[in-house]
C-alpha cells in the first residue's frame, strides 16, 4: 500500500483519506462498521474550552445533493475530550487531527496549548470558519489579518503542527491563505461549509432552528475544487482537501486540483463505508492513470 502513502507535517498517513471533522464524532461510532486503522488519519470533532450543547434542533436539513448543518460545535469541552475521548485512540495506530474552535483568541490559545500536548494528538486543525458560531468565529476566517494573527498565536503555543481550516464564504480565498501561510501555518484544510438556509414552504419558517447552517456534500464540490486549485498554486504548504467527496474519482479530482490528502464529511452519513471503499478503489485509479504513487498526482491539473 506504499503507493497511497503520504507524509505531511505531523501526519504520517498510510493513505490520503481521513474522515472530516464533525462528521465522524470521536471515532467510536464508525468503529462499529470498519477497522479505523485502515484510515490515513482521523479529524475529530471540534473541541472548545467549555462543554457546549450547541444550537437547538432541527440542526440538519436536506438540500439537493447536499445538506445544511447548524450543530453549533457541540462537544464535551477540553477536559471532556482529554479524559473521555482521546484515550480511546490508544488502541489504534492512526494519526489524530484535533479540530479546535473558540469564540475568543484566548479560548483558541488555551485549547491549542493543552490539546496539542496530549498523546494521540498528531496535529491541530484550527477551525476559523465555523459558520454556526454566532460570536467571533466567522470573522476570524474572513479577514486575512485576523486569521494570520490567530494562526501565529496558536503556532506559538502548539506542540504539534497546525493546519488552518479555511472558510469558503470569502471573496478572495488566496489572500487569506497566503496570510495564514506567512503566519507560520504548517498546512491548510479547505473547505469548510458554505453558509446557506432552507425555508419550509408550508410552515413559512426556516427549517433550521438556527436559521442558517453550513452547506456540505456533493453540491459544494465545484467550489472546493476551484478554491484548492487557486490556493495550491500560490502557497507552498500542503492542503487537506474536502467538500463533497464521495468516491475515489472525486479524490483524484482533489489531488489534481492541488490537495495533498483529503477528508470525507457528509458522505459518511450516506454510506458509512465511504472511506474504506475509497481506500480500496484508489489503487485502481493509479493503475488507470499509470502513476506509481498518489504523490504524482498532487497539483497535476496545473503543474504538468
Amino acid at each position: 500500500m506504499e503507493r497511497l502513502q503520504i507524509s505531511l507535517p505531523g501526519l504520517e498517513m498510510k493513505n490520503p483519506v481521513m474522515p472530516a471533522s464533525g462528521c465522524f464524532g470521536f471515532g467510536k461510532e464508525y468503529g462499529q462498521f470498519f477497522d479505523l486503522n485502515q484510515l490515513g488519519a482521523i479529524a475529530i470533532k471540534a473541541t472548545t474550552k467549555e462543554a457546549r450543547f450547541g444550537n437547538e434542533t432541527p440542526r440538519v436539513a436536506e438540500t439537493k445533493a447536499g445538506m445544511l448543518n447548524a450543530i453549533g460545535l457541540q462537544n464535551p469541552g477540553l477536559q471532556g475530550v482529554i479524559e473521555q475521548e482521546l484515550p480511546r485512540f490508544d488502541d489504534y495506530d492512526v494519526p489524530i487531527l484535533a479540530n479546535i474552535a473558540g469564540s475568543t483568541m484566548d479560548d483558541y490559545i488555551e485549547v491549542a496549548a493543552e490539546l496539542s500536548q496530549q498523546r494521540n494528538v498528531s496535529a491541530i486543525e484550527l477551525n476559523i470558519s465555523c459558520p454556526n458560531v454566532k460570536q467571533g468565529g466567522i470573522a476570524f476566517g474572513t479577514v486575512p489579518e485576523i486569521a494570520a494573527e490567530l494562526t501565529k498565536e496558536v503556532k506559538a503555543v502548539s506542540a504539534v503542527p497546525v493546519y488552518v481550516k479555511l472558510s469558503p464564504n470569502v471573496a478572495d480565498i488566496v489572500a487569506i491563505a497566503k496570510a495564514i501561510e506567512k503566519a507560520g501555518a504548517d498546512g491548510l484544510a479547505m473547505i469548510n461549509t458554505l453558509l446557506g438556509m432552507r425555508i419550509d414552504a408550508k410552515t413559512r419558517r426556516p427549517v433550521l432552528a438556527n436559521q442558517y447552517g453550513g452547506l456540505s456534500g456533493a453540491a459544494i464540490k465545484p467550489v472546493a475544487l476551484r478554491m484548492i486549485h487557486q490556493v495550491s498554486q500560490q502557497v507552498d504548504i500542503p492542503i487537506i482537501g474536502m467538500g463533497g467527496i464521495q468516491t475515489a474519482e472525486d479524490v483524484i479530482e482533489f489531488l489534481l486540483a492541488g490537495a495533498s490528502c483529503i477528508a470525507v464529511g457528509t458522505a459518511n452519513f450516506t454510506d458509512p463505508y465511504t472511506c474504506p471503499n475509497i481506500i480500496r478503489d484508489l489503487p485502481h485509479w493509479l493503475d488507470r492513470l499509470e502513476v506509481q504513487s498518489i504523490t504524482d498526482l498532487i497539483g497535476g491539473s496545473w503543474n504538468e
Partner: protein, 259 residues
C-alpha cells in the same frame, strides 16, 4: 465488528392507508434485528440528490423468512420516491439502530397500554407481539387524523383490546388518544408510546411518575451517533447535557428528556 449495513430486497410494498405504505424487505441483515422500537436508516435510492437516509421504525420481523416490515408515510421527497419502488428492487439499509422499547419492563400478566399516534403506530405493533409472547396483557389506543389514515387495526386486535380515535371523528372515538384513555378509564402497569410530540407531552404530563416509555423523532444526519444532529436536552440536566435520539433513544423513560 457487527454487520450493520446491507442491501435488502423489496418483497412487498402496499398502500395500507392514505399515503401510508407497508414495505417488506428481505435479506440477511434481518438476522440482526430483534428489538422492538429500533429503527432502520434507509437510503432512498442510488441517485445523489437526496444524500440523507430516512429513519423508519421496525414494525414487524419475521426471522424465519428474514423479512422486516416498515410502515411509513410518503410525505416528502424521499419517502415518495421510496414508495415508487417496485418489488425486486434492492434497498440500502443501515441498522438496526438505537435503543428500543424495554421489553423486560412488562412482566408476565401485567397490563400494558400501547399508545400510538399516526405514523408513530408502526413500532408498537412489533412491540405488542413480543409483549404478548412474553405473557403481558396488551391494550392498544391508536389515534389517527381521520378514517382514511387508519391502518393495522386488525393486526392490533389480535394482540388485545383496541381503541381507535380520529381527530375529525370520522372513525372510532372522536378526539385524541388521551381523550379515549380518560373516557375509558384505561389503566396500566406499563405504558409504551410513539407519536407526535404534543401527544407525548400530554402523556408525560399525566404519567411522569409511572412506568412509561416514549419514542421520539428528530431530524438525523448519521443515525449512528457521530454527527450530533439529533440531540435533546435532559430534564433538570446541566445546560450542555444531552441525549442522542439515534443512539441513546429513540425510546426514553418518560420524563428523562425535554420534549
Amino acid at each position: 465488528m457487527r454487520k450493520k449495513q446491507g442491501r435488502l430486497t423489496i418483497v412487498k410494498q402496499t398502500e395500507v392507508a392514505r399515503d401510508s405504505y407497508e414495505l417488506v424487505l428481505e435479506g440477511e441483515l434481518v438476522k440482526h434485528m430483534s428489538q422492538p422500537g429500533q429503527f432502520l436508516h434507509v437510503r432512498v435510492d442510488e441517485s445523489e440528490d437526496l444524500l440523507l437516509r430516512r429513519p423508519i421504525s421496525i414494525a414487524n420481523i419475521d426471522p424465519e423468512k428474514e423479512q422486516v416490515t416498515m410502515i411509513y408515510r410518503a410525505g416528502g421527497a424521499g419517502t415518495k420516491r421510496l414508495a415508487a419502488q417496485r418489488v425486486g428492487t434492492e434497498v440500502d439499509v443501515l441498522g438496526p439502530l438505537g435503543q428500543g422499547f424495554p421489553l423486560e419492563e412488562a412482566k408476565r400478566g401485567e397490563e400494558v397500554l400501547l399508545v400510538g399516534g399516526g405514523i408513530g403506530v408502526p413500532p408498537l405493533y412489533y412491540l405488542g407481539r413480543r409483549l404478548v409472547e412474553n405473557g403481558a396483557r396488551v391494550t392498544s389506543v391508536l389515534g389517527f387524523a381521520s378514517q382514511a389514515d387508519v391502518f393495522y387495526e386488525q393486526p392490533f386486535k389480535q394482540l388485545g383490546n383496541v381503541h381507535i380515535a380520529t381527530a375529525d371523528g370520522s372513525y372510532g372515538a372522536p378526539g385524541f388518544v388521551t381523550d379515549v384513555i380518560s373516557q375509558q378509564s384505561l389503566d396500566f402497569d406499563v405504558l409504551y408510546s410513539c407519536g407526535p410530540t404534543p401527544m407525548l407531552k400530554a402523556l408525560t404530563a399525566r404519567y411522569r411518575e409511572r412506568r412509561a416509555f416514549i419514542s421520539l423523532e428528530e431530524r438525523m444526519g448519521c443515525g449512528v451517533g457521530a454527527c450530533f444532529a439529533c440531540v435533546c436536552h435532559v430534564e433538570n440536566g446541566q445546560a450542555h447535557e444531552y441525549r442522542k435520539i439515534c443512539t441513546d433513544g429513540p425510546v426514553f423513560p418518560v420524563g428523562e428528556v425535554v420534549l
